[in-house]
Point group: C3
Chain length 343, copies 3
């Protein structure tokens, strides 16, 4: 494809030779010849000097470079367009039910839906149009699923779970397992029955081997457009708002409520029965143990406000030095370390 054609397809301004032949897209660090790359962050622009790429997508106000360029208001977004131009999404599976799949009584499948070998769909399930169930997926009874659903191999959706449109579950995801709820009694831990469900709203994507437990009563909810990474654990009765991003191995205790567009870094956790406000940003490995206000940034375990955390953790390695300095002061002033104070 010639660069000028790509410029036209992506709506970018062309700078340089439009006849350059492009065969693929590539990251700037390992671009092969005749590839198109991109630079969104000006700090990486210096890499263009040595990149073997044939052309680059740049911000509109970028200074001239030696390569032919496409200028875009949002270079990363334009590059996504270029990826899709060279690698259009492939369905991979033809519509229809594989003979080695098992579909229960009373279940309805929308047009264009593909059910892979050894997938099992229970009774009284409804699945919308254009769904793809890969091999070895298990859908229990009475599940309701919208249009454009993708379940990768090994996904398990327990009974009664509700799933919106355009939801993607990566391999090994488990939706609707019983929550971790027991009443400690003298003769042992009595299980609390879990008669609630899980509701996954539209445009949600959930990473490999993540688990989302059903509520004891009511529903665990993942809000519209939220994205959960691999091995995330969502406890029973949580309510995650729209547009949230939860990175790998995040864990949420039961009944915790996240507002809209909350971001949590990898391995962060929140205790149960807490509220995290809209747009809050929680750093990796943070441990949330109390309510977090909207738009706040928190870090650390236990979590403290991000600005305080940065100053405190910068001082932390010098704690032994501080002990030494206080001891020196005590010697000079003539105070014993053991002398009682009022703090």
């Amino acid at each position: 494809m010639q660069l000028a054609d790509i410029a036209r397809a992506l709506g970018c301004e062309l700078r340089g030779d439009g006849a350059v032949e492009i065969v693929d897209v590539a990251a700037i660090d390992d671009a092969r010849p005749a590839t198109l790359t991109f630079v969104a962050d000006p700090r990486h622009a210096s890499k263009l000097a040595t990149s073997r790429a044939a052309a680059v997508i740049l911000p509109r106000d970028a200074p001239p470079v030696r390569l032919a360029a496409l200028l875009a208001p949002h270079p990363y977004l334009a590059f996504i367009g270029a990826i899709e131009l060279f690698h259009p999404p492939v369905r991979g599976t033809a519509p229809g039910v594989h003979p080695a799949a098992v579909i229960g009584d009373g279940t309805t499948l929308g047009p264009g839906t593909s059910i892979g070998p050894h997938a099992v769909v229970g009774r009284n399930v409804t699945i919308g149009r254009d769904a793809v169930l890969h091999p070895n997926v298990t859908i229990y009874d009475r599940v309701r699923i919208g249009d454009g659903f993708t379940a990768h191999a090994g996904v398990v959706v327990r009974e009664g779970v509700e799933i919106g449109d355009r939801v993607t579950l990566h391999a090994g995801v488990v939706l609707g397992s019983d929550g971790f709820g027991y009443l400690p009694l003298p003769d042992g831990n009595r299980k609390i029955p879990h008669i609630g469900t899980v509701v996954i709203e539209d445009d949600v994507e959930i990473g490999a081997n993540a688990t989302i437990d059903r509520a004891a009563l009511g529903a665990t909810v993942v809000g519209r457009g939220s994205k959960l990474d691999n091995l995330v654990m969502v406890g029973h009765g949580c309510r995650i708002g729209p547009g949230c991003l939860l990175a790998g191995q995040v864990g949420l205790g039961g009944s915790t409520v996240l507002g809209a567009r909350v971001m949590m870094g990898g391995q962060a956790g929140a205790a149960g029965h807490l509220t995290i406000g809209d747009g809050a940003q929680i750093a990796a490995q943070t441990g949330i143990h109390r309510a977090i206000p909207a738009r706040a940034q928190y870090s650390g375990s236990p979590a403290i406000e991000g600005g305080v955390w940065r100053r405190v953790t910068a001082a932390f390695p010098r704690l032994p030095e501080l002990f030494r300095r206080v001891r020196r002061l005590e010697q000079r002033v003539g105070v014993s370390p053991d002398e009682p104070g009022d703090e």
Copy 2:
């Protein structure tokens, strides 16, 4: 069902109108009309003023409320009874082996057992009565399983594992994978063969996608009545005592021993070859790196005693302030921060 009938079924004392019609149970916050709710914690009693529930289960000594009430010595336990009254546990699967299941030679299945489609059971396995194997479960050779077993979809039980009565494995659980044991040699990491096994005692429940490794020699043991949450990782050769509760994403290094009724919060971890005493309580995200005495409470990474931890973490955000105050003292006293001290 009328409230008076429920009172009789649960052995509760009725206060108010026994003719009130109840159609379901509900949490106090989102109760629909004609539902029965409960209040175990007096702090939540004020919610009764606005709840749409028709009746409530209360402690015996509770002050009068505007709703009809059932009085119980243990309101939460009575509410569990009410849940089971309106939602009796459903088996969901008829006894028998689905034609699309594969059962190996020499394997015996107890009466009442149900094997779902695409489940695979190896050779010389014994499974007791009334087991339910959901679809796509894999049981390797020579596994022994007691009565009342439930394995949700995608569960994997490796060869030779022993499982007691009334054990529930949620979707994606892996029992008996090889432990993480390698001998670092100059030419690479030499694998230590794992010829041990896993023993799961009676009444254990294990959460979705949790993994329990087999011992190199001997057995990894999960004690009677212990409950493990989703994504928990139990290393090779661990011995978990009876009645323990391990919350989501907890990790135990190899050969660590937990006593009875140990509780570990989410994302807590313990290094290998440690002992955690009976009744110890380990807070979420704690990192255990030495033995913990019985009934102790520990928090933090590295773990310190819980009371100390609370005081230390309360002081922690003020560390920069302390540096400033020490600097001020040094200026006043005329000491240099760099002056050598003896601590």
Copy 3:
């Protein structure tokens, strides 16, 4: 087997009665009679006084003990040999494709390969000789796998992934799921297409339910001989060098690069786009947020150098004491805690 025969098979020097009959290997703590055990660490030698083992493997320079002994330059390595003598690795599965497996068009399987029931292998896959695919494994299209491959039940390998020789994937492993990459736009999180792949080099072993994401562009790489424990999460575009050991629940953010023989303890994590040098040792629960030099030891979250960390965390529980001592000094010197300082 007589002890003298074992000495000959393992190339060990015999000390004591070579006619002792040995029926199995055992750990020193729970050795039954007529078993062979080993002591690699002299601190455990005292256990020999009470062990019921019949013989022991010891270092060459060990002092005499009451049991018959085999002397070896590397006792642990010799013990591995003894394990394999009494428990030779069993394949467990005959070569061939189970009739309940599904193999796609254009796929080639090497000689000696065994495909279990309900395994699904896609189109245009190549698998080398002597592979074992256990039940319910799913291999997507265009995957290339070398010789001696083992995939335990429930493993999922997504399209186009490349796997070397002698690779073992434990139950529930997911290779090649889409990375967690979204462009936050005003109207929601736009997914970044993942057209890259995963490359697993020779002699890699990956623990149960671990997940390794495909790169957006290029490849996520796990280097030759590296071993990953259960529930490890490797983000898109990471490059893990040869001989690394990543313990349970470790998480790596996208595009992070590990050198050779890096060790990371359980639940440790690294942010994305970082470099961890050859031979670095990262303690359990550490949080890496900047580049780590070769052969360094780091601990803590955020990570600091291991020696500093030990001193700082030893001082940490005494922080409230330090506040009290500073307050005492202020009172003595006549400074207010609120007085401004210059630090």
